[in-house]
Symmetry: C2
Subunit: 590 residues, 2 copies
């Protein structure tokens, strides 16, 4: 089926059900960022494969809302589909609620699949559409249309993430969570996000691409902890670990029936849980809506997890240096494409101890493709790479001890002065943010500008956040903290790992991004309070050929030299021969 045919089939189904508009959020029942294949409803329907965006279809119009990262990719993928691109955050683009209010008649009906709609979205939708007496209903219309949908869930193994790496036992985690339940006077607690489920039980899986998670729900009551999961997937050690922590296991399919018999309880539940869960619990229960307590515990890494990060960063750094050497030496000499470069990088990483897989599909953007923020080169049609211009490589690995995420931008050959200037401005932002010290209580939104100021001074900016949380052998994107322009009330706390990744994108010409991971740590306590700073975790040199060193202040040069010296100490013993020689040249003082 072409996209137009799918939309036509959906409209037919909408007509049968007397629905005026149908919304397809980019979501699964666990509100995951990366969706299992069977839940890629939005991609299936629209053809747009980006990580964020949703589609709204009425009887004669269809729109895809997505953000700045996809303003180049989306139009290409939507071409000929009849779906209009609605650029989120760009002046003149209507909010989808306003759009619905103008397109749907008074007293009309809007449908969503409640299983793939968060309670937050469901309620906001209902409240806002009530202004025009529009009803929101739960109708999984794509079920009927998407014939070859591969449902039933993946069958990948679920295995133990041992306490030696997790730093905290399942029993202790459950105790800590139950204490938070008590503080909030909750008698039941539902955990539905996959990374929270995996973190809580010190289990890992591979049901979602690049995320070491598995499909599951946890219900904590006063007396029991129940994991709803495809039982066959758990290996013996995993089952033993559940038994030892008094965790009962039940089939994944029994989750909703189990919920339906819960009565007269105070239920601590995240409003980011799918609406079907709320519907199943709606009789005779009270909801205490709030964040999953384990989520903040997960975000603030313990010393064992931080040590795991430090270990894998060194390992990842060795692979990155070997890769960068290979790339810079061979570009222009042997045939390579963006796709083959990504594969080569994966090969280097695979040689690393305890490497499990990529932490996300690597982004290798050559020349103008570097300006596509979440570009993903496919084997077919991927650009040939030579020794001209610049390339942006954003990649990461999942290791048993931790997760990496790194971006380096390289000059493969001659680059313009303008490129070098912008590449240096971005680096200045990354360095300034690396050096910042800040008092307890500071939120990411207060620090975001630090990474942008050098660009802002020249009327330049990047249309993405500066930093996202990173899990410990866990999802490469996690909350609740981030460093963005958006208002996020979560304070930065010691142990939180975040990316520091400003960028600059010249459409169709080149893309620049420098990314290190950093951990929040306590710096000092003075008469003015406790201050935190960032510990840089990522170990890999920056390409000085891409920079205009004259633009760096003395303080910034000093930071770069100290960083490169530190990289040398961390990596030189694991390198040899020509690679080492090249590396030592890369890390020498500027």
């Amino acid at each position: 089926m072409t996209t137009s045919e799918k939309i036509a089939a959906l409209r037919l189904s909408m007509q049968e059900h007397q629905i005026d508009a149908f919304i397809v959020y980019s979501a699964d029942p666990h509100m995951s960022e990366y969706l299992p294949g069977e839940w890629q409803e939005r991609s299936w329907l629209s053809g747009f494969t980006g990580s964020a965006g949703f589609v709204v279809v009425t009887k004669d119009k269809a729109g895809l809302w997505t953000d700045g990262r996809y303003f180049v990719q989306a139009p290409a993928e939507l071409e000929g589909s009849g779906i209009d691109l609605m650029k989120d955050g760009v002046e003149g683009t209507p909010n989808y609620i306003d759009w619905l209010l103008s397109e749907v008649p008074d007293g009309g009906k809007v449908a969503v699949n409640a299983l793939a709609t968060s309670n937050t979205n469901w309620e906001a939708l209902g409240q806002q559409l009530a202004a025009k007496n529009i009803d929101v209903v739960d109708l999984p219309l794509l079920k009927e249309i998407w014939k070859d949908r591969n449902s039933g869930g993946p069958k990948n193994p679920v295995f133990v993430h041992p306490v030696e790496r997790a730093g905290k036992s399942v029993v202790q985690k459950l105790l800590d969570i139950r204490q938070k339940m008590e503080e909030q006077q909750a008698s039941v607690h539902i955990i539905s996000s996959l990374d929270d489920v995996a973190w809580t039980l010190n289990l890992r899986g591979s049901d979602v691409e690049a995320n070491p998670v598995f499909l599951g729900y946890i219900v904590l009551t006063k007396n029991e902890t129940v994991l709803f999961v495809d039982l066959e997937k758990l290996d013996l050690d995993a089952r033993r670990q559940m038994d030892e922590a008094w965790v009962k296991m039940r089939p994944y399919e029994e989750f909703f029936p189990y919920l339906q018999q819960i009565r007269n309880e105070k239920i601590l539940i995240s409003p980011n849980t799918n609406q079907s869960v709320f519907d199943a619990l709606k009789n005779d229960n009270t909801f205490i809506k709030g964040p999953v307590p384990g989520n903040l515990m997960k975000a603030t890494k313990n010393e064992t997890e931080l040590q795991g990060f430090r270990t894998v960063m060194q390992r990842d750094g060795v692979s990155m240096v070997k890769f960068l050497y290979w790339l810079t030496q061979n570009a222009g000499k042997e045939a390579m494409t963006e796709y083959s470069i990504g594969q080569k990088l994966l090969e280097f990483r695979k040689a690393g101890k305890n490497f499990v897989g990529e932490s996300f599909g690597s982004i290798v953007g050559y020349g103008g493709n570097g300006a596509i923020v979440h570009y993903s080169a496919k084997n077919e049609g991927s650009k040939a790479v030579t020794n001209e211009g610049s390339i942006l490589v954003d990649s990461g690995g999942q290791y048993l001890e931790g997760t990496t995420d790194i971006t380096r931008t390289l000059a493969l050959g001659a680059v313009s002065d303008e490129f070098r200037r912008n590449c240096t401005l971005v680096l200045k932002g990354m360095i300034q943010l690396s050096m910042v010290k800040f008092p307890r209580g500071t939120r990411g939104v207060q620090l975001d500008a630090v990474a942008r100021m050098a660009l802002w001074k020249e009327g330049k900016d990047y249309a993405h956040g500066t930093g996202h949380g990173v899990g410990s052998f866990m999802n490469v994107h996690e909350g609740p903290q981030n460093i963005r322009k958006d208002m996020n009330a979560q304070e930065l706390l010691p142990g939180m790992v975040v990316s520091n990744e400003p960028g600059f994108y010249a459409e169709n010409t080149y893309g620049i991004r420098h990314e290190n991971l950093v951990a929040v740590k306590e710096a000092e306590t003075t008469a003015f309070g406790t201050f935190y700073e960032f510990e840089t975790l990522t170990v890999c040199p920056f390409d000085r050929n891409a920079l205009d060193i004259s633009l760096l202040t003395g303080e910034e040069k000093n930071w770069l030299n100290t960083y490169h010296q530190w990289c040398r100490e961390k990596l030189e013993n694991d390198l040899e021969g020509e690679v080492k020689e090249w590396f030592l040249d890369q890390v020498k003082p500027i």
Copy 2:
């Protein structure tokens, strides 16, 4: 009556009315920051004279909650009162709601004066205390106890702020406000904040110290605009202006009776309006709670108002330079106190054309008193000032064309290297914020750190905001924008005037603050969007004797030299003789 006697009388009254706790917010019926004398209930009851804070009294405890600006002043004023200081924002200090929940018995009663309690506070209180079945009731208990309260309101004249200075006619303002009412489908709109009332009708008064406002309410219906005001106070021009804009005038006392007859209307009203207004309207009306539309219009100054600011800054700068010359030449030679210095500064300002009065009580803090952020030296007991150490002078003027607010910190004699270092770090912050350029959509919370980074790097900070909005011949503190650590969703918009005033305070030793006013203006539009920058408005040199120039970067030195050169151009023609000679020395390049 002593404070203890007042508290005892209140407790007696609480007992009679079966009240478990009584809250005295720092507020009047118009939710003003500076309160008319008769509404200084909290100061009267507690003896604490700071601008922010509230008191809660139970049958055996009493607490005053206030913020970091008053941690030195409050204990002094509360001594012997039996009222405990509750330090807001300091770890371990209970939120007053939590405190009430622990002190008031289940099913108890908490009373407030609804006329001096915003709807926001009223509702939050009710909702949060409901957890323990505690009722919130409206009881103006202080009415009975405060015998010599001077009620009836001031009788100061209300006069026209002509369109030549306001830049926009009353008719146009009312049209603009009615358009916003229509957009929100409101049929009635209440304006109760005094600066919004004065701004809307291009009138000014002097009912509140330092704020050129008058007691009044405005009600806009579909067909009429009614100003509730003491009619005698309006001069002929003011009455004529009201007639020409079809504004009806009614006695101030008729406001509540008028409200009580409003039925079946959709009422646009700020939740920052006093609860008695909501109570009067509660029958058969719908509330649309939201900001007063005129408030944002007031905050984004038009070109006429900006020109007014530029004009008065020059005039204020001349007075400031003459004052600074007098102070630096005479400190240690003639007898002077913090209080007399403030009076002397007022004299210099009075010589300026169209000077109306101080925009707030000047803060002259010598040595350790400089560390008391909102210090107010009284005639009696004010510290003698000599030519030793440093002095902080924060002051401002109301002129018919605009409002000023400026802080300079001076070394009157020898100062320590540590002082000079901190004084320079604060200046670095002020300069960095002055230089920042930022994209449309940026909020103050994103820029606050820019002014703090230099201090943060050394584990230092200041316990107040970096910037507040400033009115145009209007209140020196206004919203909705600010530059603070707090989350404030209001974007900075062209025409907004804000202060840029980082500081540093060494308790009992010295205080440092540098403050300029700046206006947001459009800088450029590039491929990455529209960028804004700050235009500095304040014209007055900084004391180089207080600085360690070696700590400034080349960019910062350049900013300072450019600023001083600009000051020279603006002021030198209005100075002569020794003052001019001294001034030219102050503004020469560093």
